[in-house]
Every structure is written in structure tokens, then in C-alpha cells.
């Protein structure tokens, strides 16, 4: 009984690491651009598909595969940014944000486009992907932990810390925070706001590519559902933790993993998603600023 609880908690944290990585990229874009990018998951899928193609053609090593995933995801992300977010950036960004709906629906259109492009490129329902780790899982007494998931958790934490460093200790980070605070003032101070948006998008896409690589390498396979799955899980985790908050993304991702893991054990797979959605709905109805804000007992900042 206690062993099950412990195992499920561990499994949940591991699962949550993947969600946290996805949520970090989403929240970076939302925190800075104030827009939701529905094509985030599909851009990751393009990354994974490019890597799969390279794997099928050349049987390259894992480092090359990982870099291809990240690079292709960044390329797809840049395409989305130029077509959907850059043109709408100037439109009113206060209450009644006119550009937000258009940008978001535009990103949905590109989601469809990228998904169809990916399935035309590699039409099969399943492709095997070089696994991250071939060995046995670590056994710690009564519980087991898979090494790949530990790697993912480590990457999630490192990514979060890396982002924090980037945003608080570099000139780029300073410019980003200035833009988040007051985009017009930042523009007047000489900051090239469109370029900042582009670079933030690039960082978020790179994070997405990393997340995608780790997720696909852990499962050992790629399916066309990756785009929708990544978008959905990333957004749910982001909302759970607190929109636009980087620590919130990590907390939300881990929380989603824990909720799913325990719900599945207690009630079965059908109820797993039902409970996750119920918790999200209830949270939004009662405390939309998310779990991180609840934990800190203060409103979540726009950026960390």
C-alpha cells in the first residue's frame, strides 16, 4: 500500500518532468508575448520527425539526433513566429487584446499545416526512435526508477535554472524583463522589441526541441499524436502552475504528473484524464493564478 503510493509518486514526478519541460517553453512565450502558441507542439513534432528521418537515413549517434530535433524545432518555431506572432505584435496588447485571438487562431492554422506536412513526410503511424538508455531501471528497494525519466527530471530542473540565470543575469534577460514590464517604454529605451520576441521564441522552441527529444527517446517511438499531445499537456501544466510563471510551469508539470499517476492507480485510465481536467477546471474557477501562486500565497509575477 505505502509502496504503491511511493512508486506512484515517483512515477508521477518522472512523468511530470516531461510535462514541466513542455510547460516551460509555453510559459516563456506566454509570459513575454502574452499570446498562446498553439503550434508549439507541432513544431516539436517537426523536430522529432526530422530526427527520425535522420535516424532512418544515417543511423546517427544520439547527440546528432538530439541536435537535429532542437534545430528543426527551432526552425519550425521561427516559421510560426514570423507568420503568426510578429505581424500581430503591434496590435493593442491591453484589455480586449485584439491581436491575441487572431494570433492564436493563426497558430492553430499553422498547427494543422505542420501536422499535415509531418504526416506527408513520414506517413506511418509509428516510427521507432533510438532510445535514450538501453539498460535496466534502477531498483531502490521496493521501488523502481527508470534512468531515462531521471535524466528528464534533471533536464527539467537544469532548464529552469538555466532560464532563470538567462533572465536575471544577462543583458538579454534584462531586455526581456523590460519588454514584459512595459513594451512601449522598452521600445523608447532603444530595445529592439521584435528582435527580443524572436529570440525568446527561439529559446522556447529550443526548449521544446529538447523536451521533444527526451520524451520521444524515452518512449522509443514517434507517432503523429505527438503534436496534439505536447500542446495539450504543456498547456494544462502551464495553467495548473500559473500562466506566465516559470516556477509555475515546473510546479504545474510535476503536479499534472502526480495527478495522472495517482488517478490512474486509484480509478483506472479512463478516470485519469477526467480527474485531471476536473482539477484544472476547478482551479481555474476558484484560483486562476495557479498552484504556484497558491503556494506562495501571492499573485504570480508576469515573469520570474
Amino acid at each position: 500500500m505505502v509502496v504503491d503510493l511511493l512508486q506512484n509518486t515517483l512515477d508521477g514526478l518522472m512523468l511530470g518532468a516531461a510535462y514541466a519541460l513542455l510547460a516551460l517553453g509555453f510559459t516563456l512565450i506566454f509570459g513575454v508575448l502574452r499570446r498562446a502558441n498553439l503550434a508549439y507542439g507541432p513544431a516539436i513534432m517537426i523536430g522529432a520527425y526530422a530526427a527520425t528521418w535522420v535516424h532512418l537515413q544515417f543511423h546517427a549517434g544520439f547527440l546528432v539526433i538530439a541536435l537535429v530535433t532542437i534545430a528543426a524545432a527551432m526552425a519550425a518555431g521561427a516559421y510560426v513566429e514570423q507568420l503568426c506572432f510578429a505581424p500581430h505584435a503591434r496590435r493593442s496588447r491591453g484589455a480586449g487584446d485584439a491581436g491575441a485571438v487572431a494570433a492564436m487562431v493563426g497558430s492553430f492554422a499553422l498547427w494543422m499545416q505542420l501536422e499535415e506536412a509531418a504526416t506527408l513526410w513520414l506517413p506511418k503511424h509509428l516510427y521507432s526512435f533510438p532510445p535514450l538508455y538501453d539498460g535496466p531501471p534502477i531498483v531502490l528497494g521496493p521501488v523502481t526508477v527508470r534512468v531515462e525519466y531521471l535524466a528528464m527530471l534533471a533536464c527539467a530542473v537544469l532548464a529552469y535554472l538555466g532560464l532563470r540565470q538567462l533572465l536575471t543575469r544577462t543583458r538579454f534577460g534584462l531586455a526581456v524583463r523590460a519588454v514584459v514590464d512595459q513594451a512601449d517604454a522598452a521600445r523608447l529605451a532603444g530595445i529592439n522589441v521584435p528582435r527580443i520576441f524572436m529570440l525568446v521564441f527561439a529559446v522556447a522552441s529550443a526548449l521544446g526541441g529538447l523536451a521533444g527529444y527526451l520524451i520521444v527517446a524515452t518512449h522509443g517511438q514517434v507517432t503523429p499524436m505527438l503534436g496534439m499531445w505536447s500542446t495539450l499537456k504543456g498547456m494544462i501544466a502551464m495553467m495548473l502552475g500559473g500562466l506566465g510563471s516559470l516556477p509555475g510551469a515546473v510546479v504545474g508539470g510535476l503536479a499534472l504528473g502526480l495527478i495522472e499517476s495517482h488517478s490512474q492507480w486509484l480509478f483506472g485510465p479512463q478516470y485519469r484524464d477526467l480527474i485531471a481536467y476536473l482539477i484544472l477546471f476547478a482551479l481555474l474557477a476558484v484560483q486562476p493564478s495557479g498552484l504556484w501562486a497558491m503556494l506562495r500565497r501571492s499573485p504570480a509575477p508576469a515573469a520570474p
Binding site: 485584439a98 491575441a100 487572431a102 493563426g106 492553430f108 498547427w111 506527408l120 495553467m239 479512463q270 477546471f281
Partner: protein, 300 residues
């Protein structure tokens, strides 16, 4: 009529109800990812009404619309204070909950030696009222479009009244509307319920056109698509959502010009279009220009 054309026209009509549902909420200032849930509620309710309770279709449709409005109210009430992406994600969560509930419902009755009724993930077969009444496909198509025209007429009437102006004001500037004494919360709830009923109407008709529905029909893709159709067609008039549906299903899909590349073309066109027209093709500006031009025409 050619069976293919019949099918396409019917599908355009059915999807238009769902797109109009999303459009109504967009005009009132909210973006919903969850209208497909009420489409599903309408489908299941009407199906149960005719196939299991022996109700005639018109009664079952009214029942479905009432249930759709109630379900929409249930979702709308806790989410009143939410806006933008928060509201959108809440509607998505609610819609997925409905879809999973459809997967969990097992309610069957033995009728004529056959098990009829929703059977979880297996779906709901045997919604045969249209067949049993001997209604031809052409007749059903005419009925769908007649209902659609009635709905469009209702929209046209409301646009000219104070209610229509109030709705648009709530959508564009809720604070201003409140200053004018509008009970924004009540308007939003009313709009949510009406949109739910509209989606349910489409769902009820869809169930009877297809004779078979399953929970997978009502997933996120359907909802986000209908939102996109509403926005692309234009938020200036109720004809906008129809235009959006017709462009994708009627034009691109049916002409098979872009066989296999349809989404690549359509997706790209939509993104480009939204850059120049963020409120769609038939947006408020375009509609007011057309109206002005019509007013300037000299009377014969």
C-alpha cells in the same frame, strides 16, 4: 442530386451550427474551445429521444437544445470571471470532461430484439428515425438548411435591436458596458446558454444524419476547427461562420484540388489572412462598408 454533393452540403450546414455557436461567444468577447461538448450533448440527447424514447424528431431536437443550453450554463457560471486564455482552457477542460462522460455512459434498451443506446466508447448506433419515417436525403438537407436560415434570420433581427448592440458592446468593452448599466454577467451567461442550444441543435441533426455517433466525434479538433471557421469567415455578420465552413469543407475539401495538401494550403491561407484581417473576411468594417454602399444605392 448527386450523393456526394448532398453529403457535402449537409455537412456544411451541420458544421455551420457549431461555427455559429463559437461565433456568438466570440462576438460577446470570449473564445471557447469547448462548443463541441454541446454539439455532443445535442447528438446524444436527440438520439436517445428518438431511438430509445420514441419521441418524434422535432420534440427530441427541442429537448436536445434545452439540455445543450443547460450544460452551457453549467460551464458558463463558474467561469464567468475568466477571460482570454483562462476562459478558453476552462472550456476545453469542461468539453473534455463531457467527452469522457460520453465514454462512460452505458444506457441501452432492447428494442425489436436489438440493443439500442449509447455504449461507452463503442458509440451510439441505430439512430434511425429519419430512415424509419422514409425521409429522403434531399428532404433532410432542405430541413437542415431551412433551420439554418431561420437561425440566420434570428441573428439578423437581433443585430438590429438593442440586444445586438449590447452584445457587441460587451464583447468589445465590458467595462464601458457596465458603465452603461448592462449586467455583463447576465448577458454572458445568456449568450453561453444560447450558444449551447445552437450547438446542440447542430448535434441533434448530425446524429440523425449519420445514424451513429461516438465520443470521439466530439473531441478538441472539432471545437477548435469551428472556432477557426467563425473567425476566418468574419465576426461582422452571422454569414461569416458559414463562409468559413464553406471555404474549407465546401471549396477546398470538395474540389479535391489540393488532395492531400488541403490543410497545408488552408492553414497557410488562414494565417496570412489573419495578418491582414484579424477579425476575418466579413469583419465589422467590411460589413459596415457593404451596408453603407447598399444605403447609397438610389431607390429604383
Amino acid at each position: 442530386m448527386d450523393e456526394y454533393a448532398l453529403g457535402v452540403l449537409t455537412n456544411v450546414g451541420l458544421l455551420s451550427f457549431l461555427a455559429l455557436s463559437a461565433y456568438l461567444l466570440l462576438v460577446a468577447g470570449e473564445m471557447s474551445f469547448g462548443q463541441q461538448a454541446f454539439f455532443g450533448v445535442g447528438a446524444y440527447a436527440a438520439g436517445i429521444g428518438t431511438a430509445m424514447w420514441g419521441l418524434p424528431l422535432p420534440v427530441a431536437v427541442l429537448f436536445a437544445m434545452a439540455l445543450g443550453a443547460a450544460a452551457a450554463w453549467l460551464v458558463g457560471w463558474p467561469t464567468l470571471r475568466l477571460h482570454g486564455l483562462y476562459f478558453a482552457m476552462a472550456t476545453l477542460a469542461a468539453a473534455e470532461m463531457f467527452r469522457i462522460l460520453f465514454e462512460l455512459v452505458h444506457y441501452q434498451r432492447a428494442i425489436d430484439g436489438d440493443l439500442v443506446g449509447p455504449d461507452g466508447t463503442q458509440g451510439f448506433r441505430g439512430i434511425r428515425w429519419v430512415l424509419e419515417q422514409g425521409i429522403e436525403q434531399e428532404t433532410f438537407l432542405a430541413a437542415v438548411w431551412a433551420l439554418l436560415l431561420i437561425v440566420l434570420a434570428a441573428f439578423a433581427v437581433v443585430e438590429r435591436t438593442r440586444l445586438g448592440a449590447t452584445l457587441r458592446m460587451v464583447g468589445e468593452d465590458p467595462e464601458l458596458a457596465a458603465v452603461f448599466g448592462v449586467n455583463v454577467a447576465r448577458v454572458k451567461l445568456g449568450v453561453a446558454a444560447a450558444a449551447g442550444a445552437l450547438a446542440a441543435l447542430g448535434g441533434a441533426l448530425y446524429a440523425h444524419h449519420n445514424t451513429y455517433v461516438e465520443p470521439r466525434n466530439f473531441d478538441i479538433m472539432l471545437g477548435v476547427h469551428s472556432l477557426a471557421y467563425a473567425l476566418i469567415g468574419g465576426l461582422g455578420t452571422a454569414l461569416g461562420p458559414l463562409l468559413g465552413v464553406a471555404l474549407d469543407i465546401g471549396l477546398l475539401e470538395s474540389t479535391r484540388v489540393f488532395q492531400g495538401y488541403r490543410m497545408i494550403v488552408f492553414g497557410g491561407l488562414v494565417a496570412l489572412l489573419l495578418i491582414v484581417r484579424p477579425r476575418g473576411l466579413l469583419d465589422e468594417v467590411a460589413v459596415s462598408r457593404v451596408a453603407a454602399a447598399l444605403r447609397r444605392r438610389p431607390t429604383a
